[in-house]
Every structure is written in structure tokens, then in C-alpha cells.
């Protein structure tokens, strides 16, 4: 739970811009590992649960919340990198460092370091996004909810939350390349997270159903 507070209010912990950069990295790194270790704890807890339920060995050992966490994290990582590539190729005006825009962090956030930190921050935020998807659409095993989810996220970030990003022009003043590229990345990102989660949910449901038939 500590990690979630860190996640939501990073400026609280990083309020002094004069901090040396390495300390920030350290903090972010700690944050990252904390999430990982949390998920591992959950994993072992769940394995114990599975043994109690006497599920035969050989079924996938990953529990659903862990799967959602990992999928969200990698979804953010992969599509953050894609976003960075699009930024390098000048398809889009803002890179993954956009995630750092609301906070005053010093000039480094404009450089490639900022972009990479941005990607990591997006990966962490994506864990929350993945759980949000799970809350909303987990039972629909299709690609559509994922696509819609991605499009919805784009509207929220670029439309509603626009004033939070000082470097970003308002939606109607953005160039068409940025709009289309960012929307496409969001849609595919939503598809990645959404379809993965729905599919895995369906798989685990099927498995459970099969086991209940057998026993």
C-alpha cells in the first residue's frame, strides 16, 4: 500500500528539485522492486491457496491479480517504448516524458533520461490501468472492449486531463500527426492490456469449470 501512495503522489516525495538525480532513480528503482516483490508475495500466497484447494500440479501457477499486474507493467513498457520511437521519428510532439509533465522536476525531464523515466512511470501507472480494465470489462472475451478502453483512455488523457500537461496544446490546437499517432498507440495499448486480461480470465474460468467436472 505504501507503493500506491508513492505512485499517486510522487511530488510529495520528490518535492525538492535540487535533489541529485541519482537519488530519484534510487527511489524509482525501490518503488519498482517493491511492486515486484508485492506481486511475488501474492504469487506465493496464491500458490498456497492452490495447494489447499488441491488443484493438481501443472496448472498455470500465476494467479490472476499477479497476471494483471505484470500485463499492465509490460503493456506500459512496450507501448511506452513504441511511443518513444514515434517521438524520435517526429510522428508525435510529446514523448513518454509527458507522464512527468505535471511535476516540476528540473531540466533533465526534457532529455532522453526524462523519456526513459517517463516510460517507467507509464509502466507503473499501467498497473493501475490494468486493474481498472479488470474492474470494467474482464468478462468480455473479445478484442472490442480493449480497443474501446484504449480509445477511452486517450479521450481522458488528451481531452479531459489536458490542462494537467503544461507542455501540451489543447486538443483542437494539436497537429493531426500527434493526434492520430497518440490515439493509435492508446488504442493498441488498450487492446494489449484488455485482450490479455480478458483472455486469461476466460482461460482460468474454463480451467475451473473443467476441474469441477472432473471432481
Amino acid at each position: 500500500m505504501i507503493s500506491t501512495t508513492v505512485l499517486l503522489f510522487p511530488n510529495f516525495f520528490l518535492f525538492t528539485p535540487g535533489y541529485k538525480m541519482c537519488k530519484k532513480y534510487l527511489l524509482l528503482g525501490m518503488l519498482f522492486f517493491e511492486v515486484i516483490s508485492m506481486s511475488q508475495n501474492k504469487n506465493s500466497e496464491n500458490q498456497q491457496n492452490q495447494q489447499q484447494d488441491q488443484i493438481p500440479e501443472g496448472v498455470p501457477s500465476m494467479s490472476f491479480p499477479v497476471y494483471v499486474t505484470i500485463t499492465g507493467m509490460f503493456g506500459g513498457l512496450i507501448w511506452g517504448i513504441v511511443g518513444y520511437v514515434a517521438f524520435i521519428l517526429n510522428f508525435i510532439r510529446v514523448g513518454p516524458a509527458m507522464a512527468l509533465m505535471p511535476w516540476a522536476l528540473g531540466p533533465w525531464k526534457e532529455t532522453w533520461i526524462g523519456q526513459i523515466v517517463g516510460i517507467l512511470v507509464i509502466s507503473l501507472i499501467s498497473i493501475g490501468v490494468a486493474f481498472l480494465y479488470r474492474l470494467l470489462f474482464v468478462k468480455i472475451n473479445s478484442i472490442w472492449p480493449g480497443l474501446l478502453f484504449g480509445a477511452g483512455l486517450w479521450i481522458i488523457v488528451f481531452g479531459l486531463l489536458n490542462p494537467m500537461f503544461p507542455g501540451l496544446k489543447s486538443l483542437f490546437n494539436l497537429d493531426i500527426n500527434t493526434i492520430i499517432t497518440s490515439a493509435c498507440i492508446y488504442v493498441v495499448y488498450g487492446l494489449f492490456i484488455g485482450y490479455s486480461i480478458s483472455y486469461e480470465y476466460q482461460e482460468q474460468q474454463d480451467e475451473r469449470a473443467q476441474q469441477s467436472i472432473q471432481s
Partner: protein, 496 residues
Amino acid sequence: MSAEKSEEKDQKQPISPKIRENEKIISNRVGIGSSFDVDVRRLSIQGKEVQFYIVNGLTDTPIAIELLKELMFLDAVEVEQFDVKKQIQNRLTHVQVEFVDNIDDAIKQMLSGLTFLLIDGESEAIVIDVRQYPGRGPEEPDTEKVVRGARDGYTENIIENTGLTRRRIRDERLRNEILQVGKRSKTDICISYIDGVADNDLVNIVKKELENIDIDGLTMADKVVEEYIVKQGYNPFPLVRYTERPDVAATHLFEGHVVVIVDASPSVIIFPTTFFHHVQHAEEYRQAPMIGTFLRWVRFLGMFFSLFILPLWLLFVMQPSLLPPDFDFIGLEESPTIPVFVQIMFGELGIELLRMAAIHTPSPLATALGLVAALLIGEIAIEVGVLSAEVILYVAIGAIGMFASPSYEMGITLKMIRVLLLVAVAAFKVPGIVIATTVMFILVAAIKTLNVPYLWPFLPFYPKALLDTLIRMSVPSKKRRPSIVNPRDVYKQSKA
């Protein structure tokens, strides 16, 4: 083999005890006398007439002669007994002897190369397997060569093919179920799987789809079967993996896949397959894991470049402002006389034409074709100014990347998509390429073959399995079978 659908059984013509009647019917139906390759040989044994029906192009003559000899010998030395049929059956020197009670089955067997004999007064025909199909021996397949490793490949003969598999899997639970498809061609199709490993549902789905094929003939063998089973439609991506290598097929059987062998085709079909099955190659598993990984990454990069480098380059030529500052050098040195897009299309079409020409050119003329290709089209096109040097370079990179993908079908698909991307770039620049790529990705992600998502394990995301496709794991470290085939026995190796 004699298993047939029940509704047809009612209409089958029984064998009459009167041999002349049978002869008349059979002669009429298969055209003995008008077709020269279908024949009947009459013998008199123990005072009873015996008729041998045979297709001479499909039978092994020495075996047939041996059978006839034995029967004549029987006629000469044995005392006449009450049951001539039993006497004859005793003397049939062959391992595979069956009885059928209707003319339809007998004819079907004969036309697949077996012989059947009718005995006067009996209402059963004896079918003997004396098949020998014209064909070649196992050779190394052209499309899947390896530097080290087995050099045998599947042939056109389904029996030999099952033998090649069986030689690698001596497991008693390996099942080779055969059935016949095609109303007129009656093509043999064999479903191979390992019982206890492969998912029963998967086997049943494949079997059901095969039984539902209602067509007169399957001359294009496995391709027809594929289109029926995976319902390809107008989707350009290859939905099944073909292989001509028995070791590859055996590996997939062990993993819990189902393999379908169609008679008269040297390539077998592996079900179910995903995109990533098309970018792996047997060679990777004949080298050290690290080397295998390296080869695989080179191949991934090659395919990726082949798909995107040309559209991106075209985009940068059309809109140089997009280039990152470090890559200013990309672009055209001189302003072209012909629009770059047209040049690229020329290049793409040219390479495709050359490829087609190379297939149809007889090998003595191949050198001449090479000269024409390299000198005339390459050199002179640049000198005249029809094509820019850069265009040739990037088109060539695209073409090489395509040839490097181990699946021929995947290579052509990538080429087609590249052309579509080029058109999108030429028409709409950045929005064109971004939207086209996104739509392509979504469409590919939406494909499911036999309930398996096409982009598995990337989408849906399974990190462990994805790592296995990105890195060639060492064999001892792979303890589990891939989950996507839903294997009944998850472990390949004992867990200890």
C-alpha cells in the same frame, strides 16, 4: 479403411455368389476393356473360378506374381476340400489380408492399388495389399535445409511419411488415424497425434472438420485441407505451418500439436500455429542456445526491416522535416526525374517478376536471367536515371529480409503488406503509415485459428512463453509443453 458413413452403407451393392454377375457389374463400373490400366485375371482353382482384379500402375508386380504362383501351386498339389475359400486364404502369402462383402468397397480398395479376388460361390471378396505407388525416396526438403541434422524429408507417399514419423516416436500412444476425403479422388488423410498429450477437443475438431469436407477431389492436397479447416477467407497470413521435415513434425507432436498428413503431398500441416511458429527454424535448435538466439534475432530484425524500412524511407523522402537530426543523411542525393513512389513500385514489381521468372526459368538459362537482372535492370536503370541508387538499395533490403523468413508464405504476406504500407504513405504520409500499421496489427490480433489467438504469446501476453520465442532456450531448461495447445500432460521432462 473400410469404415464408411452409415448412410452410404444402405446403397452398397453386395457381392453375389454368382461370379459372372459380379464380373459384369464390376466391368461396367470401372470400365475393364475401355481403361487399359484396370484388369482382371481369371484362374481356375480346385474347379472353382477365381478372379483377380488389379490396377497395374499401382501394384507391385512381383508380389502379385508370387500370389498367383502360390494359388496355382495350391491347385496342383493340394487335395480338394469342402471349403475352397479357406484353402485359398491359407495360401495367400501376404501380411495384410482383409475381407469385404460389397462391391463398392472392393472397387475403392482396388483403385487405391490393392487387389481383390472373387471366388465363385462366395459372397465375400478377399482384399490383399499389393500397393506400390510411383514415387521418390526421402530427400532433404529444398525449403528447410539445415547445415547439421537429419537430411530426410517427407515424400508424396502417406505410408512412408507415417513411417518417418514413427521412426522418431516409438511411443505406443502415437496415433495415426486415417480417413478418406473427396468423393471422386478419395484421398487418404492421416491425423497424427500423441494420445495423452494432445488435447482431445483439438483432435476432435480437426477430425470433424475433415469429415465435413465435401468436395470431389483434393488435387492441391494439404492446401485445400488447410482452407477447409482454418477457414482462411481473404486473410493473407499463413494460418498453419507446413513442414517437410519429419524431425520438426515429431517435435511438434511431442509438444501436443496435431499433424495432418495428406497423401500425395510432401508437406504436412501442423495445427494449431501462431505467428511466431513462422519465424522459427530447425537450424536454431541444431546450434548452441546462444547462437540460436542470435540467429533468431537477426531473422526478427530482418523481417521487421523488410516490412518497415521502405515505407519509412519513402516517408522521409517525402517529408524530410520528420528526420531526427542525427539521420540527416537519409534521403535522395539528386532530385528524381520520376516520383520516388513510382520508382519504388517499379523496384518492388521488378523483384517480384524476377522471382517468378526464376521459378519458371530452366536451370541452364538461370545464369542468363541473373545477368539480365543484375546488369540490365540494376546498373543501367541507375545510369539512365529511371531508378535512383537509394531506391535499389532499400528495395533490395526489403527483398532480402523477405527471403530470410523461414516460412515462404509469411514472406509473401509481408511483401504484400509492405506494398499496402507504401501506398498508405504515398497517399496520407504520417497518418497513413500510422493508421495502416495499427489497423493491420488489430486485424492480425483478431485472427484466431482453432481457438488460438494468432499473436500468442505476445497478445494475449504470456511473458514466459514470449521469452521462449524471443530466446532460444536450452532443451533441458524447457520442462513444460506450451500451454497454447492445451496439452493433457503438461510436463516434457520429469520435474526433479
